[in-house]
């Protein structure tokens, strides 16, 4: 069992190492996420009162889009020089590849999310230092749900013509509950509400995370064959 966990960590660590050396993913994801927020700002009057109501939605659009950008790369970068073949030949369970990839994608998106938050606070003139732990909890749960299905679909889209176009089409409808729950919970946290008020959204996120992590774990075996 510990060998299994170790192999997962190895894969995730490999991805992180590649990223540290090439720095191709995080930069573009970060810039994109900030850009989305700036562009959205143009859609509304500067300093309007309703900005705090739309802010959570804008934050999540930015985070989800930049996460998709990263997901698109996760397997296509392995295609170079047949690295995917190598991964599949490695002496570990196929699901290990899935968990390793999920872990590394999760870490990337989490880094981006945490780095986006200060910009979010500045752009929308929000102060949420006090409720930061709750906000981080929502971010961790939502990003995890998004990434767990996203990694599976990335494995699908990499073997497909026009895969980069198909991935968002597959991913977004499935992720509707995650996005709604994340936006609603974030909105309530920024309003300074208590945990009881948005606990049902956390439950939805938790439910989604558990169900789709398990389904993806089973389904992944079928996707990377041949």
């Amino acid at each position: 069992m510990s060998a299994y966990v170790k192999s997962i960590l190895h894969i995730a660590l490999k991805d992180l190492k590649v990223e540290v050396r090439s720095k191709e993913k995080l930069y573009s994801m970060m810039v994109f996420s900030i850009l989305v927020m700036v562009i959205f700002n143009f859609a509304f009057d500067p300093g309007a009162d309703y900005i705090s109501e739309v802010a959570p939605g804008i934050l999540w659009v930015a985070l989800v889009f930049s996460a998709t950008l990263g997901l698109n790369k996760t397997f296509s970068s392995e295609k170079d020089q047949d690295c995917l073949q190598g991964l599949m030949l490695a002496p570990l369970d196929r699901s290990g590849i899935y968990f390793g990839k999920t872990l590394s994608n999760f870490i990337f998106s989490l880094i981006i999310s945490v780095m986006t938050l200060p910009f979010f606070a500045i752009f929308f003139n929000l102060n949420f230092i006090d409720s930061l732990p709750q906000l981080l909890l929502v971010i961790v749960m939502a990003i995890f749900g998004f990434i767990s299905v996203g990694t599976l679909f990335a494995a699908i889209s990499v073997g497909v013509k026009r895969g980069e176009m198909i991935l968002p089409l597959l991913l977004f409808p499935i992720e509707v509950p995650v996005i709604i729950a994340a936006v609603k919970a974030t909105g309530m946290i920024l309003d300074g509400r208590m945990m009881v008020d948005y606990s049902m959204w956390l439950k939805i996120l938790g439910l989604f995370d558990v169900i789709f992590l398990m389904v993806s774990f089973v389904a992944f075996d079928y996707l990377l064959e041949e």
Binding site: I156, K161, I166, L169, I174, P177, V215, Y222
Partner: protein, 214 residues
């Protein structure tokens, strides 16, 4: 087909006209039936996808894909008959009601399913990938419904609750006939569709054989 005519007759002539909504309410019989059957269609896809991944028989892949096509067609019917009814009754074609949104999301999920199929040439790969999506998409539906339900409360008339049904007996009869007609219609088309795909396979095989001979 005969049943369909009967269902039309029942819906448009037999069933009493609704008091407040008038004739436009008659769309209800088909709207509800198609909604019901589209869920059956997606369930069939879900079940066939699981069986496919277990047995790897091409037949189940065909069943899943055919059922999705029908489900999408029915979803489109729901999403057009619904607004026709909703415009005079609710005063708007579209509201962000949980059922509307869920149906729309369903439509998106399964359109992506067809797009995915269109993007893969290799047969077994296409079958595997779409089976996975067929399973995940169906599992997602209740969660989508839950979350949209909490996001905005429903204004859909809930005519059939546990045990008691708030419908005139004649209306109920018409609904049942429409439901039966649409369900049979679904299975009829489904089997035609499956047969068509099998014939296509056969043609492909024959063509291969002939090309080999020359």
């Amino acid at each position: 087909m005969v049943l369909f005519v009967l269902a039309f007759y029942m819906a448009f002539l037999f069933a009493p006209t609704e008091l407040t909504m008038g004739h436009v309410q008659r769309i209800f019989y088909f709207h509800v039936s198609f909604a019901w059957v589209s869920f059956i269609a997606f369930f069939v896809t879900f079940a066939a996808s699981i069986v496919y991944l277990k047995t790897r028989k091409r037949f189940w892949d065909i069943v899943a894909a055919s059922s999705v096509e029908l489900g999408i067609a029915f979803c489109c019917i729901i999403l057009t008959t619904g607004p026709i009814w909703a415009r005079p009754v609710w005063g708007a074609y579209w509201t962000w009601d949980p059922r509307l949104v869920t149906t729309l999301i369903l439509l998106f999920i399964y359109s992506a399913y067809l797009m995915l199929r269109g993007a893969i040439d290799e047969e077994t790969k296409r079958a595997k990938f779409s089976a996975v999506l067929g399973i995940i998409g169906f599992l997602d539906v209740p969660i989508v419904y839950r979350s949209v339900d909490w996001w905005s409360r429903t204004i859909h008339p809930n005519v059939i609750k546990k045990g008691n049904i708030a419908l005139h007996p004649d209306m109920l009869m018409s609904l049942r006939v429409a439901l039966l007609a649409v369900t049979l219609f679904y299975f009829f088309i489904l089997f035609r569709r499956i047969r068509l795909e099998e014939l296509r396979d056969e043609v492909k095989e024959l063509r291969k054989k002939i090309l080999k001979e020359y």
